[in-house]
Amino acid sequence: MDLGPHSAFIWAAYGLFALALAALCAWLVGDGRRLERQLAGLEARGVRRRSAAADQ
């Protein structure tokens, strides 16, 4: 695709945009998985929230 004499600026803008949002998505998904594992580990050890009964 020929984007003219300034194509490097266009591709750099789109590339950085995609990279930043991909990094943000990966961080949020990874953080969520890590927290779910921690929570599952605590619950497996029998630790319960005080409000857990009320949530059932």
Partner: protein, 259 residues
């Protein structure tokens, strides 16, 4: 006469973090999918259908990501300000979760607005950066986001950190009208508004439609990221509460712990 009962509002129903987790678990995949479809359609329109601008040529394509990033940079801060108001005035249980979750996402979009604008500015203006009112006020917004995150992480007491961050969040909202109207109040190298202006957009539909489709998709992505970040923050608070409870239980059970 019996007690007066009324239906809870949506905000009240969502005030329960467990209910928010259940609802967001169902909504998030659809929100992310809708964002993906709209962004794909927007990119197709941008690269296949949108013609080169008569002055800027193909560099106008940078607008399709620069303008939504700039809009969301401001909307993200507005979300923080509204959440801060919700915390300070209504003590909504999810308000601080929302404010904390929005900060890194808003900061990312602000940085993207600055970087993509800079990459657009070099070929069009001949410079990556100029200290005009629009660019400088957006840079201030970026530092404000960083300040909110730094302030929160510097205070150990979580409730105090939430209140102080909310106050800074509300005070900082003054930067938003400065950003919006900077191009009208001062002579700036940055152009005035082309879409959200009195008298309607000044952009031809062949370029306006791809811009609006991209903006809609990226906005849905913002909300999907915010919802995911809120879910993570609720999980983080649950992990912290359970860890504290486990430590306290261990302290009570350990022989001689009190002495």
């Amino acid at each position: 006469m019996g007690p007066k009962t009324s239906q809870p509002t949506i905000a009240q129903r969502l005030a329960n973090p467990t209910r928010f987790m259940d609802l967001s678990d169902r909504v998030l995949p659809w929100l992310a999918a809708a964002a993906g479809v709209l962004i794909a359609a927007g990119l197709y329109l941008a690269f296949v259908h949108a013609p080169p601008d008569y002055q800027q040529g193909h560099t106008v394509k940078i607008m399709f990501i620069h303008v939504p990033s700039a809009w969301l940079a401001m909307m993200g801060y507005l979300l923080i300000a509204a959440s801060s108001f919700g915390l300070l005035v209504f003590r909504h249980p999810l308000a601080d979760v929302s404010a904390k979750a929005a900060a890194p996402i808003g900061a990312t979009f602000t940085l993207l607005a600055l970087v993509t604008g800079s990459l657009w500015g070099k070929p069009m203006w001949g410079t990556y950066w100029v200290w005009d009112a629009r660019l400088t006020s957006v840079l201030v917004l970026f530092f404000l986001y960083l300040g909110l995150m730094a302030l929160r992480s510097s205070i150990e007491d979580e409730a105090l950190a939430a209140r102080l961050t909310a106050i800074l969040g509300l005070v900082g909202v003054a930067v938003l009208p400065v950003i919006k109207f900077s191009v009208d109040w001062w002579n700036t190298l940055h152009q005035p508004a082309s879409v959200l202006k009195v008298g309607g957009p000044a952009i031809h539909p062949s370029i306006l439609v791809p811009l609006l489709v991209n903006a809609a998709g990226i906005t849905l992505l913002f909300f999907a990221l915010h919802m995911k970040a809120m879910r993570n923050e609720i999980l983080r608070r649950r992990v912290r509460a359970l860890t504290r409870s486990e430590v306290e239980r261990g302290g009570r059970l350990a022989p001689g712990a009190a002495g």
